[in-house]
Every structure is written in structure tokens, then in C-alpha cells.
Amino acid sequence: MTRLLIVDDSELATDLLATSIRHDLRWEVVTVLRPDDVPAVLDPAQPFDLAVVDLSFPASELNGLDALLAVHNNLPRCRLVVYSQADAPFTRMLRDAWDAFDLATVLTKSMPIASVQRALVEVDTHGRAAVDPVVRPKLPAERSPWRSLDGYGRLVEHAGHAKLWQALIDLDDEPTYEELAQHTGLKLSSVRNYRGELLANLALHDLDRPKMRQMQAFAKRCRPLLEPHIRRKLARTGDGP
């Protein structure tokens, strides 16, 4: 029997979609309301075949990228599907997920339930399905290798970069150079130089000479994809947790 994991805080997914799949497809469906609870249901002895994941979780500090990463790391064979409203505020995060993970498809919540079911069956049978036409203008035909999970390592080439990214993630408002220097323990000139080094690679993430505010928004949005590289670099210098 196909095992499906649904990670969503909306009853549309956890109730309506889950119930219809249990009833119509006879699949085993497990629902999780928050990305924080995903690791607890990931058992390699009882793997999921598919995971349907939303991106936005306003009630949690984690987001859909955290959930996708947890499933990807624990169950590498599980096919990942993003199921989202896919509206303007989440376009960039959708593109981050599309480039970082080998998504089987992207479906939107405006699709009829029957169409969602058909797409999921297609994924279960053939490994992937066509993305919803509504989001096709938002997703590149070719995934960028620079934006793969490993590709984010280019943004954290040494411990200085790791400290800078961690500070951008930790600080709430747009930080000044002085605040970044205080938070990282780096010299002002080092903060400036590390930021300058990162600007070229950030162009690969569609950020053209970003201001500090835009760089921080990127850091917070892509935190789940940056954090493994940050931890690795800080651990090498003994600055890690």
C-alpha cells in the first residue's frame, strides 16, 4: 500500500485531501500540521512513498523547506511534492524548493481535488507528474546546479561567511555593519569584505547586488538550505554549537 505524508496546516490538505485519498485511492495517509513535527514521523523502517508539503507555516518558526529537507535527509527515496497556494509572497520560496530538491511535481490548492489525486497517482506510478500550469511561469525548465542543496555551499566558503550568514539569520531588523560586527565578533572591515565576496555568488540566486535588507531576507528564507553548510564551517573552527 502506498504511504503518503501530508505536511500542511490547512484543513484543505489534512482533512479534505487526506480523507479523499484514503477513501478513493486506499492509500495510508499520515498528516502533520507543523514542520517541527516532521522528524518524529520519519521512520526508515516504515518509509513514505510520497510527501506532500506546503511551504507557508505562519504558526511555526520553520517553513516548508525545513520539512522538505527533513524528509529528503531521512527518506531519500520518498518523492517530494509541493502543494501550495503558490501566490506572490511565496514565489521565491517555491523556486528555492524547486531548485534545491528533485520535486516530483508542484500542485496548487486551486486545483480540484480529483486533479490533485490524479497527479499524485502519476507520481506514485512514474516518479513525477506535470506541474500545475498556474505555477509553470514561476518554475525554470532546467534546475540550476548552483542552487542545489550542495550549491548553497558556494555561499559559505569559510567560517567568516558562516558567521555572517548566521548573524543575518539571527538578527531581527535589517542589521548595520556595526551590529553584524558585534554579533559575529568579526572586524568591521572583515564583515564588509565577506559581504563583498558573497555578492557575486548571490547573483546565481537572482540577487543582483542586493542591499543588506535583501540579503537578510534571502538568509532567513533559505535558512534551512544554508544552515547545514554554516554548521559544517563553524564546526571546523570550533565556533559551532
Binding site: P133, P137, L139, A141, P175, T176, E178, A181, S189
Partner: protein, 433 residues
């Protein structure tokens, strides 16, 4: 450890302040109103320093070490050095900026050398005459350090800046050298006092300029915050009224009709779908106003509307074509065009739709909406209809119709940097052709 970090930061800050704001600014950052006020003060101070140097070079210099042509040379060197040192700061608002990130240390050394040279020329020309005009040199320093301090998020008071200068290595160095000279040549104590007073004049000028500019910034910030608060309040009121007039009223009506069995579930679902589309449009308009909507986002609600209406989406734009960058006005225009043309095609009975996006040789964005809903004459659309208003807004070249087999291909052409008045083209208009 914390004290060490504090000292490190303090030391870094001295270097940073010496470097000036241009060494730290993002190349695409712009000055706000307060920074422009600093520009005015800085420009006036530089002009005053140059004037004093030139005028003093022409005055008789009884007892001065430098006389005649050498005084003019000192004035020229001092003026040119000062202008070169502050030129990057003054040129920034006009878009003349360094192409690549410059290194901090060379910049700091160059500016320190420039400051020393200007102070030297000043001392040669005026040092032994009167110390107090030197406060305008402090005004130049004040303008530069305030700009840099604001960039780092620090705004010490005028007194703190003054005290910083008192504790600075420059001041301590001057005191030490003066003491040594006093021991060796006690007869020139008057000149030494004038040198020390000149430094105090510069320190006072710096402190007063910083205090004045910080005071000005607080006023500008308060006014800006007040304007933002008023705009936010107006937007919230408008949103509240819209929620009352549109979704809440419509939802209440649907609920009441269902309770009274005047609406069957299918009809109610259709009305709710229409309301969902209205909410999506509103959300998109907010995203456009907030600058977070891309060209790809503009298609989404209309693709959803077509699908909700049972229309087959045979062709939709790809990612690569949808990556054109548009300014806010251009996004409004594309949104407006889609808001008229897609609902019109659906209302006219389209069974399938093809949407394409591209660019013409002139760089304008071209959107095509092809339907199979039969033909019509664009020129004969009655005045007042959505299509007629759109045609008048976009112009003859902005909206054209090409007949295709069984339908129409509507072509919209929008300049990526449309500019113009948002209110004139905002909003959507849905209706039959």
C-alpha cells in the same frame, strides 16, 4: 572578552570613520533627505574652507614663514586636496560611484594623508594668525563622520563626538609634540597655544556640526515616520472598508441565501469561486504595491480563473520568458490588461486559452492572449466598456487584435519602465466585450 571586543570595535570604528561612508555604502544605495542635508552642509563647508584658504593666501602675511607665491601654492594644494578627498562623498547622489568595492585600508590612509595635508596648508596660511576660523574644517569632518556613523547605525551626540576627538591619537600626538617643543623652545609658547586652540576649534566645529545634523535627522525621521503612519492608517482604513464592502457583504449574502434555500450548493460554490478570484486579485495588487510581485505572479490569478471557469489552458508562459523585469507601473499595466482580456475571453465563451509572453525588438514586453471565442471588431467596441477603456489607456500600439481561426489573438505591448500615474491605470475591469 566583551571589553576586548568593545575595544576592537572602537578601533574598527575609527578606521571606518576615517574611510568615510563611500567605502562602505552599497553601490546601489541612495541618500535620504537627512543625508542630502549633510551633503548641503558638507558642500557649504568645503566652499568656505577653500574661500578662506584662497583669501588668506592673498592677504599680507607679516612675520609668516611662507610668503608670496608659496602662499598661493599652499592654498591651491590645500583646496585641491580637500576637494579630491570629499569628491567621492559629494558625487554619490549624482550617481558617480566606484565600480568595484574598494579596499578599506588604502582609502583610510589616503584620507588621513589628505586631512593632514589640508590641516598643514591651513596652518601655514592661518595657523599663526587666528585659530577660530578652523571650526569650518571641523564642519567638514563632522559632515563626513555623521554620514559614516549613520551608515553604521551609530549616532553619538555632539558632545560625544567632541570627546572622541579629545581622546583621539591625533590630539594626544599634538599635545605630546607641543610639550616637547615647549621644553626645547620655550619662546614660542604663543604659537603652540594657537596650534592647540586651532585643534579645539576643529573639535568644536565637528561636535557642533554632528549635533546639528543629528538634530536635523531626528526632525526628518519624525516627519517621515508620521507620513508613513498616516499612509499606513489610510491603507488600513481602505482595506477595512474593502473587506466590509466586498468579501464580508458577499459572504453574508451567500450564507443568508443558503439558509433560506435560495441558493443551491453549486450556485453558492460558483459565487464563492468568484469571491476567491476577487481576493486573489486584491492580494496581487497588494503584492505589486509592496514590490514583491514578479511578472510570473501576474498570470497566476487569471490562469486560476480560467481553470475555475472550465477553460482549458493549452499554452502558458514559461519561466524563462516570464523573467523580464518591470517597474511598478508596467506591472500594473500588465495586470490591468490581463484583468480585462482573460475575463472577456471567458465571458465570450472561450473553450481554450493560450497565453504567451515575449519581448519586441524595442525591449517592450508583449503579452498575447489567444482564445477560440469568435471574432469581434476592436474599433467597434462601445465606449465605456472595459476593453474600450483598456484600448484608450494602452494606445493604438499598446493593444491590437489579430484574427485567428475561430477566435482572437489580443496582443498587449507594455514598456518595462512605463512610469506615469498609478491611479490612472490601477484597478481591474471585468466585463463582456
Amino acid at each position: 572578552m566583551v571589553a576586548d571586543e568593545g575595544r576592537q570595535l572602537e578601533s574598527d570604528l575609527r578606521i571606518a570613520l576615517l574611510t568615510g561612508a563611500v567605502g562602505w555604502r552599497d553601490r546601489n544605495s541612495d541618500y535620504g533627505a537627512a543625508e542630502m542635508a549633510v551633503m548641503a552642509v558638507l558642500a557649504a563647508s568645503v566652499a568656505a574652507v577653500v574661500t578662506v584658504l584662497v583669501v588668506s593666501a592673498g592677504l599680507p602675511a607679516r612675520g609668516a614663514a611662507w610668503t608670496g607665491a608659496s602662499r598661493w601654492a599652499a592654498a591651491a594644494v590645500g583646496s585641491a586636496t580637500l576637494l579630491a578627498a570629499v569628491a567621492p562623498t559629494l558625487a554619490w547622489p549624482w550617481g558617480w560611484r566606484h565600480r568595484t568595492a574598494t579596499s578599506i585600508w588604502p582609502l583610510a590612509v589616503v584620507r588621513a594623508a589628505a586631512a593632514t595635508l589640508v590641516a598643514g596648508c591651513w596652518t601655514v596660511l592661518l595657523g599663526t594668525a587666528a585659530p577660530w576660523p578652523a571650526w569650518i574644517l571641523g564642519s567638514v569632518v563632522g559632515g563626513e563622520v555623521v554620514l559614516t556613523g549613520w551608515l553604521f547605525g551609530i549616532a553619538p551626540s555632539g558632545r560625544q563626538w567632541w570627546w572622541r576627538l579629545q581622546r583621539s591619537s591625533i590630539h594626544l600626538g599634538i599635545l605630546a609634540v607641543s610639550l616637547v617643543v615647549l621644553v626645547v623652545r620655550p619662546g614660542i609658547i604663543g604659537d603652540l597655544v594657537l596650534v592647540l586652540l586651532t585643534f579645539q576649534a576643529i573639535a568644536a566645529g565637528t561636535g557642533l556640526t554632528c549635533a546639528g545634523l543629528d538634530w536635523l535627522r531626528r526632525i526628518v525621521d519624525r516627519r517621515t515616520e508620521r507620513k508613513v503612519e498616516l499612509r499606513l492608517a489610510a491603507a488600513r482604513t481602505e482595506m477595512s472598508e474593502w473587506l466590509h464592502d466586498e468579501p464580508l457583504t458577499k459572504l453574508r449574502l451567500i450564507a443568508l441565501r443558503m439558509v433560506r434555500h435560495e441558493r443551491d450548493p453549486v450556485a453558492a460554490a460558483a459565487e464563492l469561486t468568484e469571491l476567491i478570484h476577487d481576493l486573489r486579485i486584491r492580494q496581487l495588487e497588494e503584492a505589486i504595491a509592496g514590490g514583491s510581485a514578479e511578472l510570473a505572479d501576474l498570470f497566476a490569478p487569471y490562469l486560476q480563473l480560467a481553470r475555475d471557469s472550465g477553460v482549458e489552458l493549452v499554452e502558458v508562459p514559461g519561466y524563462e520568458e516570464s523573467q523580464q523585469r518591470l517597474d511598478e507601473q508596467a506591472r500594473h499595466r500588465v495586470h490591468r490588461a490581463l484583468g480585462v482580456l482573460v475575463p472577456n475571453a471567458i465571458a465570450a465563451g472561450a473553450v481554450s486559452l493560450r497565453l504567451r509572453v515575449g519581448a519586441d525588438p524595442g525591449g517592450a514586453v508583449v503579452i498575447e492572449i489567444e482564445d477560440d471565442a469568435g471574432g469581434f471588431d476592436l474599433a467597434a467596441v462601445p465606449p465605456g466598456r472595459g476593453l474600450d477603456r483598456l484600448r484608450r489607456e494602452l494606445g493604438a500600439e499598446g493593444l491590437t487584435r489579430v484574427p485567428v481561426d475561430g477566435g482572437s489573438l489580443m496582443r498587449v505591448r507594455v514598456e518595462p519602465d512605463a512610469g506615469g500615474d498609478a491611479a490612472a491605470i490601477g484597478g481591474s475591469s471585468v466585463g463582456a466585450r
